[in-house]
């Protein structure tokens, strides 16, 4: 019997046979009809074959490794539910961080799944397509495992049950929603720059570390296990981000300014979005991991800048906004929490004024700004609360047309001065929080005039339940907006102190510890 001596295949060659060799050049249909989204952004790809696979995972290996992780994860989620695991958290205030996550982030995981599915189809290079397909299914995994990890919390705490309805309507969820829809509505090359590079590579630790480490520090086994289970997925995503940026920059020098523009835009948009995450890590974790300022210094000013050194050889520059971000890191989380605390009648999570010990921690972490500018404010509001006259904002705010965050931001060099930036387009005035948001608007005004800005929608009468008549005597706009949001008034909104969450947690803790 003849034994054929087969050529031994290297890993790279074998993977090519498993992926890029599957495609062929179509001859019965025009390439631009099969791939209609590749030309319009102006990015030039001359040779998709120059793509270097960021990771080599065949489908069968993917199934095997991921299934193993799923088995372990769900075993823990099941045990967590069976054993009343939610009672092991540091205190029930922590659950409010999960409300922000499930309502604000989980829908974005699904949208990422959709975005990468599109890229899987619309990218011509098989290597790029397969990497995007793997990310697409990973993001679906994240959306679903987050829902499942938090499902048990939903049974016992308020504010987690209605994320589908709330995420599309509430005034602060429009911040993550508009962020991701900006990416989804963009072309494939902008999408992958925005999400794979700016978000999944440059900024990823600034989202992941606060939430997942926050879970670990606060006794939340379910969310923590999700996070650790997702870590190797995130590593793949990071390598894709790095490869795609190098690939585009190497394919044609004329891609460089286009990509630079996207890097500038999405780093800024990403940092603005992360205001909410920074706020969560400074204020909503009873056992804090690190301050936003520390996280920014480690993960961006340290690691992130090293990356830009790498890209300098292509002509890529550090985004201009980093200087402003550096100054703002001392302020934005405090400004954000003060905002939510004075508007918690219209949120589906609770807020509270930090305790003395927590104020001391903030003093220590932000020595140049917190003692002077922010502690006095919290102490003033605490005094009013103690007197039974809590302070609430009595109206709706001016919001940035681009990032859609209420403009609580101050001038980078003057923390006593709110930021006032405005512009005009086609005779209509638009308000911004910064020159950076303004610039993004000016580059694509036809896109951003479409923004669905919650206070403006409220004032147009679009945020009341169907059939509401706002002209009747005694019309209460806030209660009617709350009805449109479907807020369970007095249950899921308002301060933590006195909430059902607080009472139940204490009662259940007693039930499981006392006789």
């Amino acid at each position: 019997m003849d034994m054929n001596v087969k050529k031994k295949l290297g890993l790279k060659e074998r993977y090519h046979l498993m992926t890029r060799d599957l495609a062929w050049d179509a001859t019965y249909q025009k390439e631009e009809e099969i791939y209609p989204q590749l030309a319009y952004e102006g990015i030039k790809i001359h040779d998709w074959d120059k793509w270097e696979d960021p990771f080599r995972l065949t489908v069968d290996a993917y199934w095997k490794y991921q299934a193993e992780k799923e088995r372990k994860l769900y075993a823990i989620i099941d045990a967590f539910a069976q054993n009343n695991g939610h009672l092991t958290v540091t205190d029930a205030r922590y659950v409010n961080a999960l409300k922000l996550w499930l309502n604000g982030i989980t829908p974005l995981e699904y949208e990422a799944h959709k975005g990468y599915a599109r890229l899987g189809r619309e990218f011509k290079g098989v290597g790029a397509s397969v990497a995007c397909q793997m990310q697409s299914i990973d993001e679906l995994r994240h959306a679903q495992t987050q829902i499942h990890a938090m499902s048990n919390y939903n049974r016992f705490y308020n504010g987690l049950d209605d994320w589908h309805h709330k995420a599309d309507r509430m005034w602060y969820y429009s911040v993550p929603k508009s962020f991701f829809e900006d990416a989804l509505s963009a072309g494939p090359f902008e999408f992958i720059t925005a999400i794979s590079f700016s978000f999944e590579y440059v900024l990823t630790n600034l989202l992941f570390v606060p939430f997942v480490s926050g879970a670990a520090y606060n006794g939340d086994m379910a969310a923590m296990t999700f996070g650790f289970s997702a870590q190797s997925d995130e590593s793949r995503h990071m390598t894709l981000g790095l490869e795609v940026i190098k690939f585009m920059l190497e394919q044609d020098p004329q891609n460089v300014p286009i990509v630079q523009g996207w890097i500038d835009k999405w780093c800024w948009r990403g940092v603005r979005l992360l205001t909410l995450v920074g706020m969560m890590q400074d204020y909503m974790l009873p056992k804090r991991v690190m301050s936003w300022k520390e996280a920014w210094e480690i993960y961006f000013e340290g690691n992130g800048m090293a990356l830009f050194n790498d890209l300098a050889r292509y002509g890529i520059k550090v985004p201009e906004c980093v200087e402003q971000v550096r100054k703002e890191k001392e302020h934005i989380t405090h400004q954000a929490w003060l905002t939510f605390n004075s508007a918690n009648f219209l949120t589906n999570f609770h807020t509270w004024i930090p305790s003395k010990e927590e104020l001391d921690w903030l003093d220590a972490k932000y020595p140049d700004t917190f003692p002077k500018y922010y502690r006095p404010r919290f102490e003033y509001f605490q005094k009013l609360e103690d007197e039974g006259k809590p302070f609430f904002t009595a109206g709706l705010p001016r919001v940035c047309q681009l990032c859609q965050i209420p403009v609580f931001y101050t001038e980078p060099d003057d923390p006593t001065q709110l930021a006032y930036e405005e512009g005009t387009y086609m005779g209509e005035k638009f308000q911004f929080c910064s020159t950076f948001c303004h610039k993004i608007f000016d580059n694509e005004p036809e896109k951003f005039v479409q923004s669905w800005i919650p206070p403006h929608q409220i004032f147009q009468g679009n945020c009341f339940p169907e059939g509401t008549n706002p002209t009747v005597e005694g019309f209460d706009p806030i209660r009617n907006v709350a009805a449109y949001y479907d807020i369970e008034w007095g249950r899921e909104n308002g301060p933590f102190v006195g909430s059902e969450d607080q009472k139940n947690f204490a009662k259940w803790r007693d039930q499981t510890t006392k006789n």
């Binding site: 062929w24 095997k64 769900y74 189809r121 589908h164 259940w508």
Partner: protein
């Protein structure tokens, strides 16, 4: 005697998420339900997509099929990510053992030489058909409305890539890199393969999500898979050469049966909703099945020789039976 374990049972405030409760009532929901229903955002989209300015980022208008609720297209297999990957991992484990079994014993060398040659000739170009199927299911995953359908199409696209890779592995086991090259050359230039390649390329420019679903998942795969894996691999080839090739392609055989359940459930639900849907699906199924069958004639001859016509007739009849159960008219 039962061991009666005691746990502390706290009284929950609610059983599930609001949107799940609206659909199924106030009771504990399944993992599939919680992971699938109403996961896709539906309201107040900010910006129109630059890649399709006439529609929203999620839009029911990417197909002519009209449904009051796109979640009627639920997956009878109830695959969410966890159950999907775990099901496939079990299959992968069994297939891995099969490949090991074959390779350790050198069984690929004791295959009937004629069958081996026919197998390579038939199966290698199908790597590219599978890539087209991956692209198409990806398109559906990207543009389908509602998580019920989009999610299942994601899994289908992954399955097709997995199939393409199993075929590649088979080619390397029964032949070598040159066998793959020859298969690609056939796909690109042999007269026998051009009708099928033309079919596949036509699907690649079909942008109605449900029409593409019919063309790829019902018409083409509904004929191709039984033809190759049942009639040829487990039929004519096995008679001559034993089960070796069937062991290497068992995923494809099992997968077709499982996937057909999902495909049929989707089409049945869509057809049942309105006479307009039924008419559209019938029209698409008939047109695409006709093209698929014609494209498969030369392929069936490569695979089955004199048995080709009978085999094609058999699988066509089986597709008709499926159409009857689905509730659409299939004429081809």
């Amino acid at each position: 005697m039962q061991v009666d374990l005691q746990t502390i049972a706290l009284k929950p405030l609610r059983n599930t998420f609001k949107h799940i409760e609206k659909r199924f009532g106030d009771k504990v929901a399944s993992r599939y339900q919680e992971a699938t229903y109403d996961l896709q955002p539906t309201d107040n989209f900010h910006y129109r997509p630059t890649w399709d300015p006439t529609r929203e980022i999620h839009d029911v208008g990417r197909t002519k099929i009209v449904l009051k609720d796109w979640y009627v297209l639920k997956d009878p297999r109830q695959f969410y990510y966890g159950t999907y990957t775990q099901a496939r991992a079990r299959q992968q484990d069994a297939i891995e053992k099969s490949f090991d079994f074959i390779e350790e014993r050198g069984l690929e060398n004791s295959l009937n030489a004629e069958v081996k040659a026919i197998a390579l000739k038939t199966l290698m170009p199908l790597r590219h058909v599978a890539w087209g199927a991956n692209m198409n299911n990806n398109m559906m995953a990207a543009y389908a409305y509602g998580t019920a359908l989009n999610q299942a199409c994601t899994y289908a696209s992954f399955d097709h890539l997995g199939i393409a890779q199993y075929l590649t592995r088979l080619g390397l086991a029964l032949g070598d890199v040159d066998s793959l090259k020859a298969g690609k050359a056939s796909w690109e230039t042999d007269a026998d393969w051009q009708p099928l390649r033309q079919f596949v390329e036509e699907t690649l420019i079909t942008r109605d999500v449900m029409e593409l679903f019919v063309a790829q998942n019902f018409a083409l795969d509904g004929l191709l898979y039984p033809l190759v894996y049942k009639e040829a691999v487990d039929g004519v080839w096995a008679v001559k050469s034993g089960p070796t090739i069937g062991m290497m392609t068992v995923f494809m055989a099992d997968w077709q049966a499982e996937t057909a359940k999902w495909v049929d459930a989707v089409l049945k639900a869509a057809a049942a909703e309105s006479p307009e849907n039924k008419a559209l699906l019938s029209e698409w199924a008939s047109a695409w099945a006709q093209k698929a069958k014609a494209a498969l004639v030369p392929v069936s001859k490569i695979a089955l020789g004199v048995e080709a016509d009978a085999a094609l007739a058999d699988v066509s009849f089986a597709l008709q039976e499926r159409a009857k159960k689905i509730g659409i008219e299939l004429n081809f």
